[in-house]
Amino acid sequence: MRAAGGRGAVSGRGRFRVVGQSVRRTDALEKVTGRARYLCDLELPGMAHARLLRSPYAHARLVRVDVARARALPGVHAVLAAADLTFCDPTYGPALRDRPMLATGVVRYEGEPVVAVAAVDEATAAEALDLVEVDYEELPAVTTLEEALAPGAPLVHTGEPLAGHFSDLATLKAKPGTNICHQFDYQRGRPAAFAEADFVLEETYTFPRIQHYSMEPHGAVASWDDEGGLTVWASTQNPFSVRAELAKMFDLPASRIRIAVPLLGGGFGGKTYAKLEPLAAALARVTRRPVRLLASVEDAFRTVRRCSARVRLKLGFLGDGRILALDCRADFDVGAYADIAPRVIQKGTYTTTGPYRVANVKLHSNAVYTNTTPGGAFRGFGVPQIVWGVESMMDVAADRLGRDPVDLRRQNLLAHGEEFAPGDTPVDGKLEETLGRLAEAIQWSQASPPGRAKGVAAMMKASVAPSVSEAIVRLHADGSVSVLASTVEMGQGARTVMAQIAAEVLAVPLARVSVVPPDTAVTPYDQTTSSSRSTTMVGRAVQEAAEDVLDQLRKIAAAKLGVPAGRLDVDDAAIVSGPTRLPYPELLDHHFGMRGGELIGRGVVAPGRTAAPLGGSTPFWEVAMGGAEIALDEETGAISVEAYASVSDVGRCINPQQCEAQDEGAIMQGLGHTLLEEMVYEGGQLLNGDLVGYRVPRAGDVPPRVETRFVENGDGAGPFGAKGVGEGGLIPVSPAVGNALARLAGIRLRELPLTPERVWRALRERRSPRPGG
């Protein structure tokens, strides 16, 4: 994709009217007044309330499921077990169709839904579940990578895997007879290059199981109409994927399914791809009434999580600091069902070399089933897991070489326009500038005071490709504008940004632009709200659609004035030719011969498949770097982050305040998995599946100094030169802190989170190393 300057109403002066302004979010007022409506607020006449009975075992045979007494309870509309799902195809999954709506014959993780009830209210549904009788026969479970990969390990899944609906995963590569459900391999250069390295580092890093904790858990409301059409309101990040899934499961054409998406109370990847929607639809079908299925926060812990990982890295360096070769073998624990994890392992592993030039690369990763909560997408999408290791090792290398860590990174950075991998988009940013700004922001050249030290990390991530985003812009007779795009608003402010883009192109006031909520019956196709892609991909589609409308306006004006369209300007909701101003309503009136009608513009962004290793060229490279300054309480092992700086190359901030807001949030979420968060399993039981046991960052955890900076060279493929933002800010956090810890205390930890006890143990080891250790 070429860089887009945007042909909109810029008037050649290079100043934007509303793009680049920190305008107030279009949904701010409804959110501060309590008028905002989320899925849990939706009530329909006759709506039933659903609850799920979840497995207490990590792995067990379902010997008997008896729902007769539950069904008989007054107020119960339906009780479903797997045996009842004869009217649909009950399995789903975007990569592998491995996940049954309700456990069938076997439960594969603690918390897996076994029985679903729809009743007149929640209390009755809960009572009904009490009456369900289930006999389980426990089976041996595998709950760690070691257990799952051991020869002869019990298999989480037996039987032939079925491919899901993504074209880039048509080549799913399981390892039969094992718990490996997908493998990714990539290679370039010469494997023998390691032999030419002046030194080789070989280390293994692990990344824990992390819970998204969107404050609004998952939920769906499903309703069938009398003609057999299905509507689902869902707290989902990709309505079109859910639609495709339901179409297959219920054997319906896409045109008969409507997925409508309200505001989301957070997503972070946890609400991508079908989760509760199929069950809600099945219950609605059987009860013949709308059914609302809401997850609690505890349910969310048993719905999806981040894939944990064990990453073995081998880096070969030349004495002058150049990275010569890199070998990565990563095992990702994807839980009991694959969800989108096969793509996570690919995307995460593919950019193991990050922002660096490395000629000789060998990458292999496995997606490994375990009997735990399914692992899926989570902000960063496999990259945090890998970068934790690589960026830690860059500092290990710097130490070994006696080089400054910033300088060593700078030396190895890819140049603007350089190839990342054959077939993929060349680097679209000035990485050195980002690094320089980071060094400045964290005051790298200034020594820390005693008792403190700094660490940095850099990352580069691809966005999903190929992908498709379409948009429609409607100019109404009165000159107001509707934008139809399926980007989901989950807090990131994307829908405000779409309004800004349309307002900019058409030179109309922001208040006159409405962005229609995502609804597959109304708003055109967008693949997904994830992967930091919405501003670039959907934003471009919106920009093109608005420019399409502008073109039409110009043509109408040109015909009216007898002036070439190219000589017309746009200003303040009017086409301008010298002293003549033609406001849009006047133009439409003239065009249609009446006060009515509208102009419709269309934008399609679909770069298609390419020769790039992942099947499509990334629309932009997300580049971000971070630096942390920490202090350490050596007696307790508690780290305190005194300062954190993040620099993201965003091409252009469409809304600077929202970009800051994204990165400030990303930093804290990163500090979460760096210092605090971990889903703890004992055997197959999740010990801390609630907010008392699972510790997310609070206001008091924010470092005293936080800086977020943005590189804006207008060199992105998105509107006005924008790229993406949102994931980059999170990814460097853990290695930046880990590197600071190494510098401060001389200890190198390779697992997360860096809890006080882990640090304490490492400090004791340092003081009195175990023999042979």
Partner: protein
């Protein structure tokens, strides 16, 4: 001894956002569900359900409580303020304006709880320090913003020490 038998209701009289309300509620009814489902006040939300996150915060006689873990019968004779009661007609509370101005709102799920908690803090301490604000927000979680803009917005509404309203 006053008894509300199992599965029977009791009448409560509560002032909600300044208006008197009469409702029959069961003993086990939680204030959060009564506000949301009986009074259509959807601003208070259920998130963690264990009194950790603050999404369900309402003010009871001016004091923040977790509506998710508060029996509705306990609200009898008392005043409840929800986020819907912060504005007076079209006039927003300064905190609401500040949250919007400072970009302190992202997904919005924590926002009602944050606003009410902040309101209670400023009522008691008109000029808190940044550290005090962070401390007071110990039970008010946000997963989106990283807290900085929320704290900034609250400080923007604080009055400099010694300046009367």
């Amino acid at each position: 001894m006053h008894v509300i038998p199992i599965r029977s209701s009791c009448r409560i009289r509560v002032t909600v956002n300044g208006r008197p309300v009469e409702l029959d509620v069961r003993p086990e009814a939680l204030l959060l569900d009564v506000l949301r489902d009986r009074l259509e006040l959807k601003g208070a939300r259920r998130s963690c359900d264990v009194q950790v996150c603050g999404a369900c915060t309402v003010l009871l006689d001016g004091a923040p409580v977790s509506a998710c873990t508060f029996l509705a019968v306990e609200a009898d004779g008392r005043e409840v303020l929800t986020v819907e009661g912060l504005a007076t007609g079209d006039r927003l509370d300064p905190l609401q304006e500040a949250f919007m101005d400072h970009g302190a709102v992202q997904c919005g799920f924590c926002t009602a709880g944050m606003l009410l908690t902040a309101r209670a803090l400023l009522a008691e301490e008109p000029a808190p320090s940044p550290a005090r604000v962070a401390e007071y927000l110990r039970g008010s979680l946000c997963r989106c913003t990283g807290y900085r803009k929320i704290v900034e917005a609250i400080l923007a509404c604080a009055r400099p020490a010694g300046v009367a309203r």
